[in-house]
């Protein structure tokens, strides 16, 4: 029996909720053959504003959790992605990947989450230090989260590229607002749906789909965003992003030149890039 196709209309992920865009607009998500597979919410600067507000609200509580607990939650995200591997595989295949490659990409995304989950209660020991100083003091350097981090996700490699940037940002206690791949948005919202069931506190990860051009300038200039990960920004946009970011002395992390090999893109330095080193002098009893 032929039946009407039920296509999904995806929504945004803000503060743990799935609202429609305040504009009420959607745009078609196409697969690599140009067929409409779903509709996506077209996020605007006002949605961005709400997302930053949610991220700011969530940040102190997320940072106050123990690294161990943040690791548990990242691991839980990995479990949920593994659980839905088929759905993620299908979402990745829309971008033209074959079945085997899609399976590989999902598996790598899961492994990446687990890898960063392991760092949650270890990076502070590796990045921090007891500094030798002359004088009767303990001089301790500890990494602290930067705050609210905006992530401009890579256009290609929509799942692994996204996970590879989100995990190192949140593992240290940052919260994030992600501008998802505009061309292949499906995996990002599928990931949001997995996160909503994975104990991630509301507002720690916020994901916006829609035209980046309307949101990137406002993300870069937003004074309540402390850093921007510009890995997914067009090279032509970088100059404007850095200029806008300068007004609030916001950190901008530029992509490395050339194509990124996402299979290899994991490093503790990706965590360090979104931390601030706090150094404390403490008198030593004599």
């Amino acid at each position: 029996m032929s039946r009407l196709q039920v296509r999904k209309t995806y929504k945004l992920y803000i503060g743990g909720d799935f609202p429609r865009s305040e504009s009420g607009r959607t745009f078609p998500a196409l697969d690599h053959k140009g067929e409409v597979v779903a509709r996506m919410a077209a996020g605007t600067r006002k949605d961005l504003r709400m997302a930053v507000r949610a991220a700011r609200r969530a940040q102190p509580g997320w940072a106050a959790r123990t690294g161990y607990n943040r690791g548990q939650i990242l691991y839980r995200i990995a479990e949920m992605v593994e659980d839905r591997a088929e759905a993620f595989g299908a979402a990745v295949r829309l971008s033209g990947a074959g079945a085997a490659r899609a399976r590989r990409e999902v598996a790598r995304a899961v492994d990446r989450l687990v890898w960063y989950a392991g760092w949650a209660d270890k990076f502070a020991q590796v990045m921090g230090n007891l500094n030798p100083v002359s004088g009767p003091f303990f001089n301790i350097s500890v990494p602290e989260p930067t705050g609210v981090v905006g992530i401009i996700a890579a256009e290609e490699s929509p799942l692994l590229g996204l996970v590879s940037r989100v995990a190192p940002v949140i593992v240290s206690g940052n919260t994030t607002v992600v501008l998802a791949s505009e061309r292949w948005p499906s995996p990002s919202i599928t990931l949001a749906e997995a996160m909503a069931t994975a104990d991630v506190p509301d507002g720690v990860v916020n994901i916006l789909t829609g035209p980046k051009a309307g949101m990137v300038p406002f993300l870069a200039s937003h004074l309540d965003v402390n850093a921007v990960d510009a890995f997914g920004a067009e090279p032509a946009m970088l100059r404007d992003i850095e200029q806008e970011a300068a007004a609030g002395v916001k950190r901008v992390v530029r992509p490395p030149g050339g194509d990124i090999d996402w299979a290899e893109a994991q490093s503790p330095y990706a965590i360090a890039a979104f931390t601030e080193i706090k150094t404390v002098w403490h008198p030593k009893g004599l």
């Binding site: 504003r49 930053v52 406002f218 200039s221 937003h222 004074l223 309540d224 806008e244 007004a247 609030g248």
Partner: protein
């Protein structure tokens, strides 16, 4: 109904001798409120979009209407002095930002507020005694409960006025109102008004404790008939505090009272108004109910503490086209 213990002075609205009978017939004539209609109208007006130049004008007006408020047990002279400088110059980086209308404090803090507001600027705008043009408002009459003997309440008012407050925010006797002793509520307002002398009197109804819109409307009429210069929704210590529907009910009472007596009474919603967006909704409600004559700090005030920062943030957003962070504004 208790018998009148004291002789009540003549009222311009209620006639030469105010008795329980005249009060009750006055209040019986107050029409009841259509609750659904009020919610509908307040809701519909809240959807109005105010953009760019109009929004900027509304934000500036809202700042001029602010009663910057600190009413906490832990208030110190230092905090009041700091807040006073903020009242005069809300945004030190932008000289175009006007001062707020008044600084609202507990009686104990009035001398510090008067001193801090006396210095800067010249002239006495809005009839205030301070050199900066920012008035000193004081809550009194055993705020927020009002549960004290009348002579203590009037004594507190007289003390605050003598210390330099030019505006007094009193609370009505809700216990008496809810038990039907309207004359007592009326007489207390009259007595406090007398203790105020030249100071303006704002009468707090504490709408969150009055339970029904009918009560709010009757209490509004009663307060205005007793001589209130302003009627105010709430102390900010009781939830719910100011809401759009309850403000609409009070604005309509002001309109009716103005039509009946020719006296223009002001309105002050207070408590829970913390964003510029909501403040603009109040201004829309005000303009649609009472007209542009009321769009002035002499007839409308916001009782607020955190609202001011949001107004400043919105103004800077309009100026810079860049979303703002509370990190760049004072933490009071």
């Amino acid at each position: 109904m208790s018998s009148p213990a004291t002789t009540t002075p003549a009222s311009p609205i209620l006639g030469p001798s105010v008795t329980p009978r005249t009060i009750d017939s006055f209040l019986r004539a107050v029409p009841s409120v259509d609750e659904v209609g009020v919610a509908e109208r307040a809701g519909a007006l809240a959807t109005r979009s105010v953009k760019r130049e109009s929004k900027l004008a509304a934000l500036h007006l809202a700042i001029r209407m602010c009663d910057l408020t600190t009413l906490e047990g832990r208030d110190t002279p230092g905090k009041v002095i700091q807040l006073a400088s903020k009242a005069i110059r809300p945004d030190p980086t932008d000289p175009d930002i006007p001062s707020v209308a008044a600084l609202c404090v507990y009686p104990n803090m009035v001398p510090y507020a008067v001193e801090a507001l006396a210095g800067a600027g010249a002239g006495t705008a809005n009839g205030t005694a301070t050199g900066s043009g920012v008035a000193v408002a004081s809550v009194a009459t055993y705020f927020p409960s009002g549960q004290a003997p009348l002579d203590i309440k009037t004594g507190e008012v007289a003390w605050a006025v003598a210390a330099g407050a030019t505006e007094i925010d009193m609370v009505i006797n809700r216990g008496a109102f809810l038990s039907g002793d309207h004359l007592r509520v009326h007489d207390e307002i009259v007595a406090v008004k007398e203790a105020c002398g030249p100071a303006h009197l704002k009468v707090i109804l504490e709408t969150g404790e009055l339970s029904t819109f009918d009560n709010v409307r009757r209490a509004s009429m009663l307060a205005m008939a007793a001589g209130a210069d302003f009627i105010k929704t709430s102390t900010g210590k009781v939830k719910p505090a100011a809401t759009l529907p309850v403000t609409l009910v009070m604005l309509e009472a002001i309109r009716d009272f103005h039509a009946a007596s020719g006296t223009a009474v002001g309105m002050k919603p207070a408590g829970g108004i913390s964003t510029a967006k909501v403040a603009i909704r109040y201004l829309v409600l005000l303009a649609e109910t009472l007209g542009s004559d009321w769009l002035t700090p002499d007839r409308f005030r916001f009782g607020a503490s955190s609202l001011l920062n949001d107004l400043l943030m919105q103004i800077r957003w309009l100026r810079e086209n860049r979303y703002q962070s509370p990190d760049y504004f004072t933490r009071d």
